[in-house]
Symmetry: C2
Subunit: 245 residues, 2 copies
């Protein structure tokens, strides 16, 4: 049983507002259609989420600007999600979108509608989304946050993150020619020791993966979404990527 997140950077051009990378998404979904035991898919926002969120002050206090941003960011994320869901349908999968902005929230999301779809044999698709955090502020719940929640709820064997890098290195491979891809990271290693920050955003993901691993018996995998076929090698010596156990 596997849960999987497709990074926004893989399926969008992060620099151009609302520009999807359709070919990359097609390649990923075609590959995932052949994966057994896939329970659900989560995806990030890339240029459908981050650009307008920042522009409209999300996450942040409630005001006229952020309220409009709330509507816009969710609309844009739905548009990106429609691409993923449509590709899944074309590839014979049974997707159903379950955005967290539609779920009950009181400090925690009530994922029961999503869990019900898994029980019914659907593959629910959720994504980084806006939500009403508290009386004063709107939040953004990231795809990584959702993955952490679902790990705890579903206790999958494997959790996979498709990103735009091959994995986690011992130092920044852009700066150091001798940087080594860390195939496995075990207990007791902190990100400080690992040093590297390939994309600048991996530190946060690394932390989140480290927290998830206690719920995921077979390991939390980070791999390159441009080479989705590598997913078939999970558990084999030939796998290219990083597993955190």
């Amino acid at each position: 049983m596997m849960i999987l997140k497709i990074g926004g950077s893989v399926i969008t051009d992060k620099s151009a507002y609302r520009k999807a990378n359709v070919e990359a998404a097609e390649k990923i979904i075609k590959t995932l259609a052949e994966v057994d035991g896939l329970l659900c898919i989560v995806h990030g926002g890339g240029s459908f989420g981050h650009i307008k969120a920042k522009e409209y002050g999300l996450p942040g206090p409630k005001n006229e600007t952020s309220s409009l941003g709330y509507s816009i960011v969710h609309r844009d994320m739905e548009e990106l999600d429609l691409m993923i869901v449509s590709l899944m349908i074309e590839n014979g999968m049974r997707p159903i979108a379950v955005p967290v902005s539609s779920l009950r929230y009181d400090g925690r999301f009530d994922y029961s509608p999503l869990l019900r779809y898994i029980d019914e044999g659907f593959i629910p698709v959720s994504y980084g989304d806006v939500y009403i955090k508290d009386e004063h502020s709107y939040g953004i719940y990231s795809g990584d946050d959702i993955m952490a929640d679902l790990s705890e709820l579903l206790r999958p064997n494997v959790a996979v993150f498709l990103t735009d890098v091959d994995g986690i290195y011992d130092k920044d491979p852009k700066k150091h020619k001798d940087a080594v891809l860390l195939r496995e990271i075990g207990t007791g290693i902190s990100f400080g020791q690992v040093q590297n920050d390939v994309t600048g955003g991996i530190a946060k993901k690394f932390d989140s993966m480290m927290r998830m691993r206690r719920y995921v018996s077979g390991g939390v995998y980070l791999m390159n979404g441009k080479h989705p076929e590598r997913i078939y090698d999970i558990g084999k010596g030939s796998f290219i990527g990083t597993v955190i156990r």
Copy 2:
């Protein structure tokens, strides 16, 4: 305080799969942007919903075909909904899609996420949608069903249905030149007495409106969505349409 449903026949070409009537939708949303006290919008599916639902056996028993149909119909409805939501954003409104397929359901939907958005000043948008009815079957929850639920929950002053006809007539206006538009239908009148069935589908809507009226103090209105500006005349003698009280 008003709740309003836009009929699928107004914003789509019912005979052509997934063909939207963008101009009609634009005209409606521009008009609604000027309406005070609009709590939420519901819309039907037209050719984004009914054609594939029928083709894939929805509503109906769970099987391979209907399961695929479930994914397809929801995806298509989301696409139609994105048009409505986008037009609302363009017109300065604060929409947020809340599909019933994402809500908790155990014989009744738990609308609390939608109600919360109303409290927060958003205009939630819901629509006719698929849902898991019970152990053996998938259901289709229509826009009219949602309107009935929201009437009970919200007790709005006014509920409005935008359809493709001017209102309810005393007999079929296509067959009878002397058919008279019924401006008001009060207690004690049944559809048998009203006789007419302009679109063939009005009988069911009439029943549903008759059931709703006890929750809607100011009346349940049926009017022509091709002339959305008539909504400004609600409560005036010049209003063209039918009110059920």
